[in-house]
Amino acid sequence: MPVGFVTRIISRAARRTSGMKLTTSSDNVRSNVAWPAAHRCEPWSRDADRDILETQTFGDGSALAVTTGMKTLALIVTLLATAPQAAAPTQTPVPEGTVIVSAEVTGFDIGRLSPGLRQEIRDLVGTPLSQDRLNELAARIEAERPGYVAAARAFTDPGGRVRVVFIVGRSTDRDREENVNARYVVEHVDITGVPESELTQALRDEVDALVGQRLDSDEANRLEARMEGELPRYDVRRRIRRGSEPGSIRLVYEATKREPPRWLRFEPSRTTVVYHSDQGWGSYLDLGIGWRDVRFTPIVAIDHGDDLIEDYSGFGLRFETRKMGTERLGASLEWTSFEQDWRGATLDALALDPAIPPPYEDRMTLTPLVRFAFSPELSVKAGVSISELDALPPAAGSMMANAAVASIDYDRPQEAASGSTHDVHASFGVRAGSRALESDLVYTRYLGRAWYQYGWGTHRVHVTAMAGGITGEAPLFERFALGDSTTLRGWDKFDISPAGGDRMFHSSVEYGYRGVGVFLDLGSVWDEADDPRVRASTGLSFRAGPAFVAVGFPLNTDNLTAVFMIGLRAGAGLRVQR
């Protein structure tokens, strides 16, 4: 180790540390260091903390120093000056390739290293010196003991023999501080944008405790997070500003009020592109375009039949506003025009049951709705749904299916509590076809749905349940169906109830880890005149963003076949409209 090099390092460091002077003499380094009290030169010990070995360079590039804080500087000097094996170090760097005669670790119990690493250090003896190799071993020491830092130094004794010392020291968070402002003392802490009285006294005390201390970024960040926790309606941002005197800083926590949650939400997207191995491809796309309070949503459906017993293609447009004078009141108007395709199984089933209204070739629907929010979570909507159904040839003419519609929705956004998340949605809706609305079909349809998801870390469990019933003579698009990409996965709805049913219940439990999930579906769809048969299915699913793949197997059947589903679905997976 070049003594001049070390002394230049220390001298420069000493200049930056008030009260410290350094002199050297003779070929060997003889240090006479007047350390400040806090940096008094002490014998190295394993227990010595607050030492960090590092390469420190100053901006003017005039020195490349090896320091571990002042005590480690002293250690290096001490090693050079007093260690027997390092006696009389030469002024010149140790030549690469010189054979190493000894290798040891100081400042750390070598027994705490892995046997393999210990052996590799011992094996240095007798090998040519390679600084890269020494650096590699020092890095491995740090890797094995993350709380420590290590540096390798090679010394040449008067006999020209090379000795290697690995200097190991404990690192501390303060030493590892990434922020150069950590050396400044916090003069004052300001909290702006919110009355301090909105914070708990305990938090205010902790904030006040920062004053007079050097900046601790971790602690300041922790308090910033705590502040956000205590001020859920605010965003909190931390800044540092100069204090009134050099070396002092002001810590500023700026609280900015968040936009309150909206009272009404736009209609959730139903966008789905899905392939079902029994039912083929289908897609339904609704892409909202709009602003804060108003949205237009073009709708395009192509052979979509995932939610009904009909395959329909066509288009539509929905207009929504969620502020009509007040944010509690909104309205929507949806117009759609779909052309239907019917499966042979459905037509056969309809032929056998004349009580079910006939199939139709085209369905055009206009749905004006008014919405009102009791709270950001709870809202109701009401209106009418006017549908004209063109008869399927060879029949002619059309019939009206006009219904009053009303529903109540509960939608509670995700909430974080002790690292876990909860997501709850529930709704209950009624659609009633009535002569008073010039409807040819008179019926009442009820549907209740609930969706809950619990997540913790990368795990999630979601549970869905829904049940519905129809009385009267409901059009086919109102009839219930199960056995698609979200319900009774593993069953084909055209095997279960090709013409749908007027009674239905379904529940599903799915556990997911990261994108992979396992599910159990249970449900039944039937007509009031029949006995219900409960069906179950299970399978595996994988999700990546909106993309999903699932394989489902029917359980209580003799015909065990797999159903494969793949596609894209916007929104919250199983939380689909029916």
């Binding site: 650096n135 990434e178 922020n179 400044y184 070396g247 909106p546």
Partner: protein, 196 residues
């Protein structure tokens, strides 16, 4: 003294939008220098001036040919901070061995970070001496303030789609890359630009 600092044979390399990358061989490693490659811009600078630290990930990749798969890559993560009183930047390495430097201008801090990227010459294999090589320098400043989530009632909207697509662009705004080459190692190990 066997620790020889190899004379740097500077090689001009690529000039793209005023950016210049220079490769040099020192000892048994290849180091690079760069001019005009500013990765501290925009929001990270704001955070630094607010007295916070910013992490920057730098990587230099050796390519056998432009656009081809990498031969070797050297990465390093740095923590930068801005001294509010001295109005100078400080840098500390986060990964690997601890190194730090302070009292730098912004350009000098950026340059110091780049200079810490060293590629072992042995990792180049036959490249450099028998065949030219290319270098790709990339910087990434992880965005600590994640983009705000879309409106909870928004669902799948055009705006959400635009947000989703532009998220990559936003990420790119804090990700920069500079390609340079071809290089060839000089007779003493220095890297010189190879005639195209």
């Amino acid at each position: 003294m066997a620790l020889v600092v190899v004379a740097l044979v500077a090689g001009a390399a690529a000039r793209a939008s005023g950016q210049t990358l220079t490769a040099s061989a020192a000892g048994d490693v290849l180091t690079i220098r760069v001019a005009g490659f500013d990765f501290l811009t925009g929001e990270p600078i704001g955070r630094l001036k607010d007295g916070r630290s910013v992490r920057v990930e730098l990587a230099v990749t050796v390519l056998a040919e432009a656009g081809r798969s990498p031969v070797t890559t050297s990465r390093q993560t740095f923590a930068l901070s801005y001294d509010l009183w001295e109005e100078r930047f400080a840098v500390r390495t986060v990964s690997g061995r601890s190194q730090s430097i302070s009292h730098l201008s912004q350009a000098a801090a950026e340059a110091w970070c780049v200079e810490q990227l060293a590629v072992p010459l042995r990792a180049l294999g036959v490249l450099g001496r028998d065949r030219p090589f290319w270098l790709r320098l990339e910087s990434r400043v992880p965005n600590a303030d994640a983009a705000a989530e879309p409106d909870e009632g928004g669902g799948f909207t055009l705006q959400a789609l635009i947000d989703a697509l532009s998220r990559r662009r936003r990420s790119d705004s804090s990700t920069r890359a500079l390609d340079a080459g071809p290089f060839r190692l000089g007779p003493r190990g220095g890297a010189t630009p190879s005639p195209r």
